[in-house]
């Protein structure tokens, strides 16, 4: 008589090491991507957490030689989409505009002059408001194209749409973003 099959594979040292390395190397990028999608710290934290659990479970499906970041961004994008569907219409807390100063990772050069810091902060506030006015799909494409500097093909793979859709979303997103920033600049 055959031994009963176990429902889940037992964790192996390789699997544990894979997860540890993924969190150490890509945890920050994953969290920041989640944060830009959700605009909410608690949701970004939950999303990152769930994404790494998926990474652990599906670690064998990752193809060596391909971009791990694209893979986990795709996981985060899909999880976020599912979560939005689940909680459709429910209240979602946004990051307050006057949120506490950030802790920086050391790679970002801090502004040396107070006036530069002020200008940067004002620009950032304007950008934050303008980004918030975009649709989630537009924000996703914009972040991946201009912040992550992904190609249209890579964005299409992460988001799960055609290159043509990526192109039109990006064009529209940039057009709207420019309009919002200009209207915020003239009103302030």
């Amino acid at each position: 008589m055959a031994a009963p099959r176990k429902p889940f594979d037992p964790p192996s040292p390789e699997q544990s090491a894979f997860l540890e390395r993924a969190i150490a190397e890509y945890g920050k990028a994953t969290y920041n991507y989640a944060l830009r999608l959700t605009r909410n710290e608690a949701d970004a934290r939950d999303l990152s957490q769930e994404a790494f659990i998926r990474v652990y479970r599906a670690w064998r499906s990752f193809q060596p030689g391909t971009s791990f970041l694209s893979w986990i961004y795709r996981i985060v994008t899909n999880l976020h989409r599912d979560e939005l569907r689940r909680r459709k219409g429910r209240y979602q807390e946004e990051i307050p505009e006057d949120n506490a100063p950030q802790r920086f990772g050391g790679t970002r050069p801090l502004a040396t002059e107070p006036i530069e810091d002020l200008v940067e902060r004002q620009l950032s506030e304007r950008m934050s408001k303008a980004l918030a006015a975009l649709s989630l799909e537009q924000r996703q494409v914009l972040i991946l194209a201009d912040v992550e500097e992904y190609s249209y093909q890579e964005i299409a793979d992460v988001v799960g749409c055609s290159i043509g859709t990526v192109r039109s979303r990006l064009h529209r997103a940039r057009h709207q973003l420019r309009r919002y920033i200009e209207s915020l600049s003239t009103s302030s």
Binding site: P7, F8, P10, P11, L19, I23, G27, K28, T30, Y31, N32, L35, R36, E41, R45, S48, Q49, F52, I53, Y56, Q102, R103, F104, G105, R108, E120, R121, L123, S124, M127, S128, L131, L142, I143, A145, D146, V147, S151, Y152, R167, L170, H171, R174, H175, L177, R178, I181
Partner: protein
């Protein structure tokens, strides 16, 4: 390239998404056309503002996430075997065909039984009704249907 490129083309150029020939032609045009160069610089500036905003709003992964991930994994692996089996059964790849089979089975079972019981009720009703109409003495409870009612001669005679 003689015609002035539109904004969409400039955006694709900025992101390195034009075909090599188109890319080279637009590059040459931008060298000679100050208006288009200014529009292109505007697109570059927008991308730089986005990157600056991203750098400024960048945060570290919260300290508790790593431990929470491991805690969730350990909790799921410590679940009793029967619970893991139930969870495995709830996986859509298994649950959907099982649910479909149950629904189909219930539908067919209901259809057969409804059809069967419907026939029995109809037969009893029509038998009683026929007997009540053709009998001279109304039936009391417990009375049996006269055997004559079932003969073809009687039916012919009633017509």
């Amino acid at each position: 390239m003689n015609a002035h490129p539109n904004h969409d083309l400039l955006i694709d150029y900025l992101h390195g998404e034009l075909a090599p020939g188109e890319d080279a032609a637009l590059s040459l045009h931008l060298d000679s056309c100050t208006d288009c160069r200014a529009r292109y610089e505007g697109e570059v500036e927008l991308s730089e503002s986005l990157r600056a905003y991203a750098r400024l709003s960048e945060r570290e992964l919260p300290a508790g996430v790593r431990n929470a991930v491991w805690a969730a994994i350990e909790a799921s692996e410590r679940r009793p075997a029967w619970l893991q089996r139930v969870a495995a059964w709830l996986h859509p790849a298994i649950a959907f065909p099982v649910a479909a089979a149950l629904v189909l089975g219930a539908f067919l079972g209901f259809g057969v039984s409804a059809h069967h019981s419907g026939t029995m009720i109809d037969a009893a009703y029509y038998l009683d009704d026929h007997a009540a109409v053709t009998s001279a003495v109304p039936f009391n409870e417990g009375n049996t249907v006269p055997a004559a009612l079932f003969t073809t001669e009687n039916a012919d005679g009633a017509q």
